[in-house]
Point group: C2
Chain length 392, copies 2
């Protein structure tokens, strides 16, 4: 019989994943072109066209490419990544991981004692809840500021105590698409530094950055390492190179972090004993070839522009999304779950804001083909009409 904790998890399961499976069934029933599946962050932009030739190149030139290496990954890959992030970093600051999901688990395994607290800002990627629970940590949720979807600093100050071990941020953000500015990061760092001094503790900032390169309108995403010493970056190539199924990412540890060398040893051990052992070898070498290559974002930008314009015209209330590939509009009724169920009747698959701890909103993942976006517009119009929403 499965464990008590797991029973709850299976019962709750992932709303997003359930939607993904439902989308597949609906596509079979109605035809893929008639289902507007905005439920999952499965990038529709194909990987770079050079991927196949680069894989071939690695297979023909690298010796024992499929063998074990150091649990932290290939040194050449880690060096290339370190160099691309900051001049004070070496391969020692980088641990290759099974995506950012693997990286976050490795970080939390390394730092968390039971019942220590990890703070997140709602709305947040719901998996954080499980990652913290995996290591018997306590998740502390800061209520959303629905005006801006920026961190609620007043609440943050009150939430930090001597048991606070980490704060997770995610910018560009899933599900809102907002990007934290330099000013926001400066304020955040100031609070964390004050609280570290007040409690004589180390409070780690974990910056989950799978969308770092997915940003529009020439918006600049600040480097979090420049703001706060005790910072981890958890990165994934899932979105920037459209390789989510291959599970490749890394952890970067700030050169200025307290206890950095102890932490790095811990990450290495955690990567091993959690059963990852190491990030997939071939794909480590592959991403090494793409360090510094800009992500292909034109499809996403185009989708965002079409959908944002259309939904605003239909009267939806949406915070302007500068990055990632999500819109997070206010639902047209209070009950976001009911709203998403209604949308399903128009063949539109959305994820309720409740899944991100933010009731009354919904997430729309626009990392889909342009045709899906264009074909969906009528369905959104009908959905809005159903709720008697007058067109602006």
């Amino acid at each position: 019989m499965i464990s008590e904790k797991m029973k709850e998890l299976v019962a709750g399961s992932s709303v997003i994943r359930a939607m993904f499976e439902e989308g597949r069934l609906m596509a079979k029933k109605y035809g893929a072109e008639n289902v507007y599946d905005f439920s999952l962050g499965n990038p529709n932009t194909p990987p770079p066209s050079t991927i196949t030739e680069n894989i071939l190149d690695i297979l023909s030139t690298e010796n024992s490419i499929h063998g074990y290496m150091n649990n932290s990954g290939h040194e050449s890959t880690r060096s290339a990544i370190a160099k691309s992030i900051g001049s004070d970093l070496t391969y020692n600051n980088i641990v290759m991981t099974v995506g950012a999901a693997g990286g976050l688990n490795v970080i939390l395994k390394t730092i968390l004692n039971p019942d220590e607290e990890v703070i997140v800002f709602a709305p947040f990627f719901s998996e954080y809840r499980h990652y913290v629970s995996n290591f018997n940590g306590k998740l502390i949720i800061i209520k959303p500021d629905t005006n801006s979807f920026m961190p609620n600093f007043a609440e943050l100050k009150q939430a930090i105590n001597k048991n606070t071990k980490a704060v997770i941020i995610n910018t560009p953000n899933n599900p809102t698409g907002v990007v934290y500015s330099k000013d926001t990061l400066t304020k955040l760092a100031t609070i964390l530094e004050q609280k570290q001094a007040e409690f004589n503790s180390s409070i780690y900032l974990i910056s989950d950055e799978p969308y770092r390169e997915i940003v529009y309108d020439n918006y600049e995403v600040p480097n979090v390492l420049d703001f706060y010493a005790n910072t981890f970056i958890a990165y994934s190539y899932s979105k920037s190179l459209s390789l989510p199924g291959e599970r490749i990412g890394y952890i970067c540890v700030s050169a200025k972090m307290n206890y950095a060398s102890e932490i790095l040893s811990g990450l290495n051990v955690a990567n091993r004993i959690l059963g990852f052992v190491n990030a997939p070898s071939l794909f480590q070498k592959l991403v090494e070839k793409y360090v510094g290559t800009p992500a292909e974002i034109m499809l996403y930008k185009n989708n965002r522009d079409i959908l944002y314009k259309h939904l605003v015209e239909l009267g939806f209330d949406i915070t302007y999304p500068a990055g990632a590939f999500y819109l997070f509009p206010k639902a047209l009724i209070e009950d976001d779950v009911q709203f998403c169920n209604k949308a399903k009747e128009f063949n539109i698959l959305l994820v309720p804001g409740s899944a991100f701890c933010c009731k009354g909103y919904f997430r729309l993942a626009y990392c889909v083909g342009e045709t899906t976006v264009k074909n969906s517009l009528d369905a959104f119009t009908k959905l809005a009409k159903y709720y008697n929403k007058p067109t602006r």
Copy 2:
């Protein structure tokens, strides 16, 4: 600062991995040909020569090969594997995992409540300790039967109680190379069934089988599923296809398992929330092409024969190893750690039996090139001479 639990782990770290790193340093210093590194199970047999063409074939024919799929893996891959194991299995019984290490963690996450007990037979792969600890389980170690290195059934009967959730076996075995016979598995199953009835509980048998195909002398490895209903198999392609760095394996759930559908949902969720998300996509499709292909074992067999003969001639006491690629001889002195340190002076890298909870023995991983084996023979002779061991 890292967690208390992790501090201990970093301090203890992995003896095997430490030896791996030391081997690399020694190879740099003395030249690779003068260091006899028998420390790590990093297969020296190259992967099948068809791997590159098969990867190319997948890249050129499969659509969105790098995208997300169901957390349990590609259905086509799971179907092919299910069919190869048993006629009563379907893709539903298979969950693709990040190697067997990932699989074991996913199984334990799914079934273990805090303080429930997991039984292992010494000597055992030391990572089991950490995998059980990851989910706050309690590891119960059955003392070794050094005459045969078969399970000590008398002790097993006494160890099982109402808190026993699982028993891990590993056949062909790391570190001893022994293979459990049908008779052994029948006895084991009988005990587990009796104890399930006695305690009105489900006791799961977890069969860790990365070496299933690595077996010599036409020895047949029985299918554990045929003996006991509540069985999980954790399999890895690391050894059979020499792909340890790519992290690809699977869990197979017996069709006769109690609560099978609940368990399978749990495995799917655990795979996701532990941060694996799914096994690497390209390598799932790749192993699908090798289902049923026999492993390339001639190099290993040859190495085993040369080393076994030589060490027995030198007076070492060794249980005949029918499978895997390990010898587990008795050390020439009581202190196995001291013995392995002495071996290092002859440029031989071994792992002390203590690392497997079996003092007085050592593990020799012979998954190395034949040249290493042949060049090492003199060094072993000198080592035996150092201890005044008369040649037989």
